[in-house]
């Protein structure tokens, strides 16, 4: 019995006795490099748990450490400190060929000297699976990725989308405990990328394998993931569901990186049961939920452009209200984008849907009132 099989069966046994065993655990993982005589930390201490069958994304700008984190899960990088566990087993010092995870590389990294069939069969051959079983599983997998009939093609004779599916099949055919995908759609054009997002999600549901997805594309992460870890500068800034990350970003970085967000700063004016009223300039007041506010504290809050209503009359009711002057109107078809300058010089972006009954037809230079529900703004830690 090979080490791989031993590992798989031990993990399978562990999983069956307790459904609680997470697929992947990172515990205080740090990766340091020495570059030009200086120690550089690519990953500065990441601790996270990925559950079985989850579609998990590592999202962040380039250089944030997301790819390094994934490569440590795959075994291509050794962590400087910390532990990597797959299904409860410490694999920190286990080489990549003995880890039961497979990877889809950014540029696919297909074997150029092998045809589609041989590419897909590569992992099974290394695992010394019987020829009949290989035939069955490769055939089945090629059907799932819709490449049946193209077995004899060489990678260079295929389109980007087809190569992408070969890479996916080559990894999935091994039935890994987790599939790691490193910006797999980066090289495809927009239309194909959107189609592949849906395709990936379908395949993930079909095979029921844990997917760890590295991307810098926030819409991709929001579309597909069950949970997202937003990374910046070697650290996880926020780990939550796509909705939570979009609706209530916990840091200014997350708010700015995911979608468009307005960042407003004010001071606490008074405290009312479980929330604070902030003062912005002379007439602006923003309600924000949360404890621990003190009167006269400076507080930063975020609000999404599509949550704001623009009106020429001062709105009434329990709303956050801020006055401003329209400095720019951009017609975008589906919606209008307004830039509104506040008294303190800050600029707020507002999206108004282009509905039939749209009453707000503010023009450039108009004095307007911006208002939104208190639950749509969040205090941000720095």
């Amino acid at each position: 019995m090979t080490d791989i099989q031993a590992g798989t069966e031990a993990a399978a046994a562990a999983a069956s006795t307790s459904a609680q065993v997470p697929a992947i655990e990172l515990d205080g993982v740090v990766k340091e490099y020495v570059a030009h005589g200086e120690v550089v930390q690519a990953v500065k201490g990441v601790t996270l748990t990925i559950t079985e069958g989850e579609f998990f994304s590592l999202l962040g700008p380039s250089g944030c450490g997301k790819t390094t984190t994934m490569r440590m899960i795959a075994g291509f990088e050794d962590p400087s400190r910390g532990t990597v566990r797959l299904h409860g087993q410490d694999v920190t010092d286990v080489p990549p060929n003995k880890r039961d995870v497979n990877m889809v590389f950014q540029s696919y990294a297909l074997f150029p000297h092998m045809n589609v069939w041989e590419n897909v069969a590569f992992g099974l051959r290394r695992k010394k699976i019987g020829e009949a079983e290989i035939k069955r599983r490769v055939g089945e997998m090629l059907e799932i990725v819709a490449l049946t009939g193209r077995e004899k093609r060489r990678p260079r004779e295929m389109s980007g989308g087809q190569q992408q599916r070969v890479a996916l099949a080559r990894a999935l055919v091994n039935k890994p405990r987790a599939l790691l995908l490193d910006e797999p759609l980066g090289a495809l054009d927009l239309k194909l990328r959107q189609a592949m997002q849906i395709e990936l999600k379908r395949i993930q549901r079909e095979v029921g394998i844990t997917f760890v997805y590295v991307t810098h594309d926030q819409s991709e992460a929001l579309t597909m993931s069950d949970r997202i870890a937003v990374m910046n500068d070697g650290l996880v800034e926020q780990l939550a569901s796509p909705r939570e990350i979009y609706e209530s970003p916990s840091t200014a970085f997350v708010a700015g990186f995911i979608g468009t967000s307005n960042l407003l700063s004010g001071t606490v004016d008074r405290i009312v049961s479980g929330s604070a009223v902030l003062r912005l300039g002379q007439e602006g007041r923003v309600l924000v939920a949360g404890d621990g506010f003190q009167v006269a504290d400076p507080v930063a809050v975020t609000v999404r452009p599509e949550k704001i209503t623009i009106s020429t009359e001062e709105p009434t009711g329990d709303l956050s209200v801020v006055p401003g002057i329209v400095s720019e109107v951009v017609y975008l078809g589906l919606y209008n984008s307004y830039a509104v300058s506040l008294a303190d010089g800050a600029e707020v972006t507002v999206f108004q849907q282009n509905a039939l009954d749209s009453t707000s037809t503010a023009e450039r230079g108009d004095a307007v009132w911006l208002s939104w529900q208190p639950r749509h703004s969040y205090a941000i830690g720095s």
């Binding site: 291509f76 080489p95 990877m103 990294a109 150029p112 000297h113 045809n115 290394r126 080559r170």
Partner: protein, 283 residues
């Protein structure tokens, strides 16, 4: 004019080859079937029997040349592959320095390098006389005038032509493809035999073409480092032409050598062609 442009590009090179390669070849072909001697002149008699006679007479040297060429090629691959591999994958930012070191011997004349080997390895030369005086090797031990010396010289002189194409092929191997193999359960050894080696075979193939042909036809190494027992076909051609002035025999030997090598190379290409090798390696 525009349509003629591509032809104009090949015109200088084409003319060069036509004048300095094709014309002498036709001339030599004609000489090979002439009869006569250098004093009374040669007359065209379409005497094709010279080919059979020459082949029978110098059969030993033909076979010896092929054998030396083959052994030297195999030794060259064994030496060149690890070197090219190391430069391509472990050379880091100094790759071009190492390549320059490989090419450095080319800055010294081919003949001069071989002659300096003769000085180094002579029976009472720099290497052997100290070894003999301390009794490490017997007094009648010699390196020159042996098969090993000739093959050693051949390998030494043509090694860069093996290293460079292998290096180029290895350099083009995407490191991520090697990682993909490891990710798909291949141990380091398997990642090499199943991925790196097959992808570098076109380089080995080119290296063999670039070294086997000139090594087999070489006469400098056998002439300088070898003895009477190491005469290669190149030496015979040289002697027939320059010493015996038997131009028809020299020309016939040259053409026989060329034909044999073309046949050999085509057979080699067909048997070990890139596609075939890659198909086999993918299993």
């Amino acid at each position: 004019m525009k349509r003629l442009a591509p032809y104009l590009l090949i015109l200088p090179g084409g003319l060069w080859l036509a004048i300095f390669l094709v014309v002498p070849m036709v001339f030599m072909a004609s000489v090979s079937t002439q009869e006569g001697d250098v004093v009374n002149g040669f007359v065209q008699t379409f005497n094709f029997s010279v080919y059979g006679d020459a082949l029978v007479q110098y059969r030993t040297q033909f076979l010896r040349s092929a054998g030396y060429g083959l052994v030297a090629t195999v030794v060259s691959i064994a030496l060149a592959y690890p070197m090219a591999y190391w430069i391509a994958f472990k050379g880091g930012p100094r790759k071009s320095t190492y390549l320059l070191l490989v090419l450095l011997p080319f800055f010294v004349s081919f003949v001069l390098r071989t002659v300096s080997w003769k000085f180094l390895l002579a029976d009472d030369g720099m290497l052997l006389s100290p070894l003999k005086s301390i009794g490490l090797v017997p007094g009648d031990f010699h390196v020159l005038q042996t098969t090993a010396a000739v093959i050693g010289g051949l390998v030494y002189n043509y090694l860069p032509f093996m290293i460079l194409p292998i290096y180029v092929a290895l350099e083009r191997v995407d490191p991520r493809v090697v990682e993909a193999a490891q990710d798909l359960y291949a141990a380091r050894r398997e990642a090499f035999t199943k991925v790196v080696l097959p992808l570098s075979l076109p380089g080995v193939f080119a290296g063999v073409l670039m070294t086997f042909v000139p090594m087999t036809a070489d006469y400098v190494n056998a002439g300088i480092l070898g003895g009477p027992e190491n005469t290669m076909i190149g030496n015979i051609i040289q002697t027939e032409y320059l010493v015996n002035n038997d131009y028809p025999t020299a020309a016939a030997l040259s053409f026989t050598l060329m034909a044999a090598m073309l046949v050999g190379i085509f057979a080699y290409a067909k048997a070990l062609g890139t596609e075939n090798v890659l198909e086999a390696a993918a299993r």
